[in-house]
Point group: C2
DNA sequence: CTGAAAGCGCTTACAG
DNA sequence: CTGAAAGCGCTTACAG
């Protein structure tokens, strides 16, 4: 049916191996031979069968990306960046949505998804370091952003703690004293969640402001979570003059709810987020937030994972680089 | 290295074919035999090698999805829905970003991306019907949303024209008479672009309002495009009392710019969009828009494409179903 | 520098 | 209902 390497070999009057050599840029080929083969390829419109190549070579040239859900803006933007960076190095990216379920995450670390890919980017939300190591096979794995404290795993880190402290310090610097934190859930102390909360507390302490648990409101990291958290906060009667959403969509949901209820932002309440998604710049008022260095994270993760897959690059046994963060001061908290 | 079917066959004391039969749910297997094989599979932790299966069967169980960029919220949400629907039917989705480039779109329709997938979802932005038919191979192809007028191609349609007319009629019904359209570009009359503009004109005509080309502002379908379009509109001195962004991000960019400049929405200017992305509900003010039926589009497209791939289902030669749209009236244009 | 052969792990006719 | 054999289209030692 399709044109195969055999057809090319016949047309060029050489052996299969020679065609393979040309395709794989083997160095020592007589120029005339190479020329003949390339002409036959062009004439026949030959394209390598990637499946056959994969079966034989054991490499698929695909990388897996396990994340919660593509409809979350931060993940969509990160996925887009990763796909572009991977494409520049000749790899495709196969995305798997985990819906934050431990079983889905575990399935993606092993099983068929793993077999289809040469290496994995993983944004763990349900699984911890031990779980990950237990579930993951021998193929390269790079964790992204969501911090899992484990010295055995490659990961590209967001400076969750310092960046959250910077946002909090900025709010304090503008005179706010009662800063509610939205999206700080359960007892987590290692996930983004917990680390950002720690950053918040450090900044309070450094500025001599007392920590008040009544200002810490758990909620899902979605728009409606942020909106609902504000409602609960208002219903509680606790006073506050600023809101720090632990990610942008929470902050944007909170912002929406505050405006709906007639509060002025930033006059009555300042609002800040975390992630610097595209939308943050165009919210009304635009959202003060912190950029975790998404594009840098994507680029570093891609380079690290592909170097691992190819066994190239001068790499330490385990690498855990941190991306640079940057405060983005906008209207919602000037 | 990994456990193969041969290992399973040996452990179960049967032939390779019998193992294959069990795995592929061949009907006529003696229960005892099946039992033995299943036990061997469980004991050895056997997992099929999908690459080998693909090479032999010619099927990859992957579907391609070609879209402009995952960082665009509507596409990210659509991709998420498609991946979920496909997963329910046992297929994975490989996403390819075209960056709106004709050459990228063409490459995705043929070449290696095509070889890796059994069928393709394609949101064409640069290529027309003839181009698509010329470039696409014989594998099934389903176009999504962005209308390409061509009776030869399967597609799941957004009711661009009627939905745009409904939004416009809603604005007219609330007393607006000078409705600016943002994002209406070049002479396009078949893309979403052109069709939405036609819907707008129809609604004006049906309501006896004259069409004024000075109210039609071209811009990129991004947030900054919408913001900039509003700036140009204001600079032109043309009067307007409403803005219809041809998609939500354009409308949200416009909304932002209007508020920045001190206009009150909806009092001074009403704003409406198209897409009903998640963000529309939580914008401030929340955005009036039209839902094109994203989840329905995803489900229908997945069912159609997989039926084509599997040669099953009672299907017409060409199908072009239209998804139901629904007006979402919110604060920005009550 | 190039060739002939083996084999990656499956599925698929073909028998029986 | 099950088996033995061929073969999908490549790459990879192994020769020469």
């Amino acid at each position: 049916m399709a044109v195969t390497m055999n057809d090319v070999a016949r047309a060029a009057g050489v052996s299969l191996k020679t065609v393979s050599n040309v395709i794989n840029n083997y160095e020592f080929i007589r120029p005339a031979t190479k020329q003949k083969v390339l002409e036959a390829i062009a004439e026949l419109g030959y394209e390598a069968n990637l499946t056959a190549r994969s079966l034989r070579s054991g490499k698929t040239n695909m990388l897996g990306l396990v994340l919660s859900d593509l409809s979350v803006p931060y993940y969509a933007e990160l996925a887009s960046d990763i796909m572009k960076a991977a494409s520049n190095r000749g790899y495709r990216v196969l995305v798997e949505q985990s819906a934050n379920q431990a079983e889905h995450e575990r399935a993606a670390l092993q099983g068929q998804f793993r077999n289809l890919t040469d290496g994995l980017f993983f944004i763990p939300l349900a699984l911890g370091g031990d779980d990950i190591i237990a579930a993951a096979g021998k193929k390269p794995l790079v964790l992204l952003g969501e911090f899992v404290e484990d010295p055995r795993l490659d990961m590209v880190l967001i400076q969750n703690q310092d960046a959250a402290a910077a946002v909090t310090a900025h709010l304090l610097g503008s005179g706010r004293r009662r800063i509610a934190v939205l999206g700080a859930n359960d007892g987590d102390t290692t996930g983004s969640n917990g680390l950002r909360l720690i950053g918040y507390r450090h900044a309070l302490k450094a500025n001599g402001v007392e920590y008040d648990p009544a200002l810490v409101i758990p909620c899902g990291w979605r728009r409606d979570g942020g909106a609902e958290a504000v409602s609960r906060l208002l219903a509680s009667g606790v006073e506050f003059d600023a809101v720090f959403g632990l990610n942008d969509v929470v902050a944007l949901g909170a912002l929406h709810e505050l405006l709906v209820r007639g509060y002025s932002v930033p006059d009555d309440v300042a609002v800040a987020g975390f992630d610097d998604i595209d939308e943050a710049r165009f919210a009304s008022p635009s959202l003060t937030t912190v950029s975790p260095g998404r594009t840098e994270i994507a680029q570093r993760a891609v380079d690290l994972l592909i170097d691992r897959v190819e066994g190239k690059g001068e790499r330490a046994d385990v690498e855990q680089p941190r991306a640079e963060y940057a405060l983005r001061i906008r209207q919602s908290a000037p």
